[in-house]
Symmetry: C2
């Protein structure tokens, strides 16, 4: 079932007190650079360092106590892993997380530090969906999908509800891969133009919108945005996005590094590459936003020191 | 005249709409490391990247239009310079800023980018107070002192008022050098124990509290905390601090770098060395805070990329 604004509102009630309300941050340099009134939704300051905590918490909170007690399973390139393991720790249940072996070290470490069992796989040659489904069947644990789940989309949308509480943006820039955050935010902000941002060369969302059917990225594409490399977007996000996404924009690694450096220098925020993709798209200027009120979702901050330092020196 | 809580309240009204309300940030790892409920007041997200914007804006807003129109002068190691130049830009008046020649490049650049005239001096051999007073007399511009001014202390105290709006902390850790922020926060939070944090080997506040009279640091002391190297604290801050500061704590460069790395990894905040001093003192554990509600003022985030990267690799 395709979720609605009502599902986002229910999620907000369910996750209150567990998930943090994150600030909207203003910056003179950013306004000057874009000609817009820009507000950065700092989801890097979210519990677990990324917006994923919203959907994971909503999905676990909605389980019956009996089902929940059997634990949860998730497959994730990183931030969903951290989120599910963090939420599982808070609810006092076990978590099994399937992660690509080349996930950033900080994401593997943080997930393990939350007490989850981490099972790694080869992102190029193995299917995480199959591994996750098999483990779920074997262990009787509930599988929390990273984006193609109405509860997860509803949870991610609460970031948009918080934006709506403070401003009425004309446009919202959102990093997108599976599309859960962008779809949820689209539900929460029905009057805003939604720009989904994806890595250059990994533009399945643009192609899916153009063709009217979900398109798949070829395997093996590399990008600095480790959190935005899903093979294809989810069916529920597509059902929402095909009506609501104004456009998909793509960003180069170089533009993302520049945005990370800008966030360091001006916003004083630590953004991971995927988390800075939306800011990169805004600052590249392919979409004219002059005179508008623009919300930029800076979706996460889980980045290794070496990757971060490299971006600053670029 | 020693300012009071009433001056802080007046400042809050005066600066509203110009100065940002900054978030209080929670973090599981920080609570676990300290055994306390810790809230980080993220003044690095303040306009101009540091709390100094509060005092500078209050001081300029309180001038009569005639005096204000003649412009302002300030002497500062950095963040007060950025703050006065930013506030002057907003009020549409000229600013002359006297800065040490070895101030961090980002602080010199940002001040100039605000349209201020920057005059550099040798921190070891020249007196910035004398230079500032001379320029003020020559140009007829109003001198905004960095801390020994009731309006500046009242303005800085608004950070404490914002904390009081959300929580009632048992203890507050505040970076201190001139003492304006720590004194203002002490006024705003009369029931909290105030810990003033200063660089190791530059512990004039500890000595001033111990002897009951303002003590002076010997010249030439180096610390990574470029914003906390004032020769001696102000008379007004001392008048407040001698009654209200529970204790002065000192932190090593190494502890400050560790705190910057912790803020990067867990809080996702960019903190400059002086801005991380309070967090460093809390995490070093010289003061037992277990079971308490603790506010930590992360006072600024204006740091060069090289200094930041260096702290991350330490």
């Amino acid at each position: 079932m395709v979720p609605t604004l009502e599902d986002v509102r229910k999620a907000a009630e369910r996750i209150e007190g567990i998930v943090y309300r994150t600030p909207l941050i203003r910056n003179d340099a950013l306004d000057a650079a874009t000609g817009a009134r820009v507000l950065v939704k700092a989801e890097n300051l979210q519990r677990g360092g990324a917006f994923k905590m919203r959907g994971a918490t909503n999905a676990i909170a909605a389980l019956t106590p009996e089902v929940r007690a059997r634990g949860v399973i998730a497959f994730s390139s990183g931030n969903h892993a951290i989120a599910v393991s963090t939420a599982a720790r808070i609810f006092g249940i076990s978590a099994t997380i399937v992660m690509p072996s080349d996930a950033p070290r900080i994401k593997l470490e943080t997930t393990r530090a939350n007490g989850a069992e981490v099972i790694t796989y080869d992102r190029i040659h193995e299917s995480r969906e199959e591994i996750g489904a098999r483990l779920s069947a074997e262990r009787g644990a509930h599988l929390i999908k990273p984006f193609d789940d109405p509860l997860v989309i509803g949870g991610q949308g609460t970031a948009g509800l918080e934006i709506a509480d403070e401003i009425a943006p004309d446009a919202v820039f959102v990093p997108a891969s599976g599309g859960g955050l962008a779809a949820g935010v689209a539900l929460a902000l029905p009057d805003a133009r939604i720009f989904a941002v994806e890595p250059e060369g990994h533009d399945d969302i643009a192609q899916s919108l153009a063709t009217g059917a979900i398109q798949r990225n070829p395997p093996g594409i590399r990008s600095i945005c480790d959190g935005l490399l899903t093979e294809k977007m989810g069916e529920l996000p597509f059902a929402i996005g095909r009506r609501r996404f104004e456009r998909a924009l793509s960003v180069s690694d170089r533009a993302v590094r520049r945005a990370m450096a800008f966030a360091f220098k001006h916003l004083k925020l630590v953004l991971e590459p995927s988390g800075a993709a939306s800011l990169a798209a805004l600052m590249e200027g392919d979409q004219d936003v002059r005179g508008m009120t623009v919300a930029v979702i800076a979706s996460g901050g889980n980045v290794d020191a070496a990757t971060f330092a490299d971006a600053l020196s670029a």
